[in-house]
């Protein structure tokens, strides 16, 4: 079976990251932005796994990166909970999740 090479993995990861960044910059809905952020995190995790897969120690792949990945996913889950809580709180306070209307940081 033909497996993907490291370059293809990294390209895929970069693409995901770019799509996520574009989404963060372009979209106005804060929930979509949040989802895009998660996608960027996933892209970073994918890079980690790819390197881990192609890095051999004593003839075997190095699984340390894949171990780390589980921790990242766990922490990301917690972070999503906090993030969604913040969005809910924000909506309660402002009755909107549109970033156009959330400009109180303006100098």
């Amino acid at each position: 079976m033909q497996t993907a090479s490291l370059t293809e993995y990294l390209f895929m990861s970069g693409l995901l990251f770019a799509i996520g960044l574009a989404g963060v910059i372009i979209r106005r809905n804060i929930i979509v932005i949040f989802m895009c952020l998660e996608m960027m995190l996933a892209a970073a995790a994918l890079t980690l796994i790819a390197f881990s897969r192609y890095h051999t120690v004593n003839g075997l792949p190095d699984y340390d990166g894949q171990m780390l990945m589980f921790f990242i996913i766990t922490v990301a889950a917690a972070e999503v909970a906090v993030g969604l809580a913040i969005i809910v709180a924000l909506y309660r306070a402002r009755q909107t999740v549109n970033t156009e209307d959330l400009t109180s940081l303006k100098g």
Binding site: L21, I30, L102, L105
Partner: protein
Amino acid sequence: MNSALLLLIIPLLSAILIHFLLQQKMASIAAILGTIGTLVTLGISLSLLSSDAVGCSFNWAQIGDFNVNIGIQLDQLSKGMMVVVTGIGLLVHVFSLGYMKDDESKARYFGNLSLFMFSMTGIVLADNFVMMFIFWELVGLSSYLLIGHWYQKDSAADAAKKAFLSNRVGDFGFLIGILMIWGITGSIVFDQMALSAATPFLGAAVLLVFCGAIGKSAQLPLHVWLPDAMEGPTPVSALIHAATMVAAGVYMMARFFFSIGFDVIPDCSAVTIAWIGGITSLAAALMATQQDDIKKILAYSTLSQLGYMVMAVGLVDPNAGMFHLYTHAWFKALLFLGSGAVIYACHHEQNIWKMGGLFKKMPITGITFVIGTLCLTAVPFTSGFFSKEGILHAAHESNPALFYIAVAVAALTTFYMFRLLFIAFFGKAKDEHAAHAKEVPLVMAVPLLILGLMSLASPWIGKAIPALNDFHPHIGLEMNSVTIASIAAFVVGLAAAVVFYKGKESDPLANNKVMQLFRNKFYVDEAYAILIKIFQDLVAAIVHFIDEFFINGLLVGGLTRIAQGTGNLFRNHCQSGRLQGYATLLGLGAIVIIYIVTFL
């Protein structure tokens, strides 16, 4: 120690003691101290006359091989001048004891008098131009302080300021002149200045040095300060603005001419100086004919006589000028102190039209005033006659036009002095105060008597005459065209005064158009006011523009506007509050960092 040094130290010490120690609390002691100090300096001056003491010199500043010394030059010129300065100084001090008895800042007055004595001594004894210039400025300062003695009066404060500023204009030229002389002769010491050849550059230098004399001796066009300086106390007018300080210009020019030698003085500069003196003399005499203030008449008369002296200097006969300075100092101080006595007796009334009949009520003042007048108007066998004859002679020989001017001035002098005499001293009393005038106390009468004596005797005290090159004044009556012209001028002036003013109650010429021109001093003050206004407004406009546009608009305002503008730019466009903007910047920043780390 050189006794001549004491001449400088005593008045300086007295000034310091009075100003810093005695002050107004011990005003009477201050007055006595100043008077005794002057008495001692007079004694030293007299003892120096017959001694052959030489000067001395201390290094004061050294710059490379250029030395400035504080030095004393003792010769007939300075010794004689010292006698004049300390002699009249002493009499003025004594007179002031009476005149300023009840003044509320008597200590300040006597302190400043001592300061003046110190400065004037410095000018007379200076052996180099830089030292002379330093003391030159110091007399300017003491003159300023004394004119403004009654500074609570606006007119006195203004007059002091005017005197100081007018002098400053002249001193600017003087300073440049000193530098040019240093450039030409390579020395600032009078003894080392002798030159062998004249150059056009020297001509300019002589005229610039003369600028100092124009300011100090109040020649045209800087004469305007002297009449105003009469706002000061009358003894000050006698000492500073008649006898000594205003003559310092003539003294300085004589010293300067002796130093560089008569042969090298360029003709054009000398003629310019002579003409300035002649024109000043004539203009001042014309103005004096229509003044009503007794001190103003004497002030214009001083201007006119100073013009004579400057004319003599310009005719390259400084000895004649110095001889006239010497005789004039005595009789003009006498006239001023006499006017002071009159003013004192009439309760500070200075208008001659409110006096009258004073001769009988104040016999000592009256007689001495008449003596002074006779000397000033050059009646034969008075001191003024001999010294004026010297100047007329010099003019007669080298410049006929100036000779006629000088004779006309002599006639005018007689005219205005007898006008003053007839109105103030004879006729009927025209005012309450004049009717009840009493003779002044002894402390004021004695200086008048001594000055009266000196006015008559001065030409015969040959040793005290400040002049050089074995000067022997011509003393005697010898009928030639010069003496005849002089006597004729006196007769014409006297006749005119008798015709117009004998026994008059008001000025019969007051409405004459020409006379009004004289009364208003040829409108010189007004012309200066306009000139200064135009200049000042122009300069102010330019300065205002630079200040508003360049400094305020571009420099100060420009910098703040740049900072503010940049700040606004970032605030409005970066600190927008939009999450996406921040995210974009964050992304861009990350990309830039990655680019730098990876590819550079």
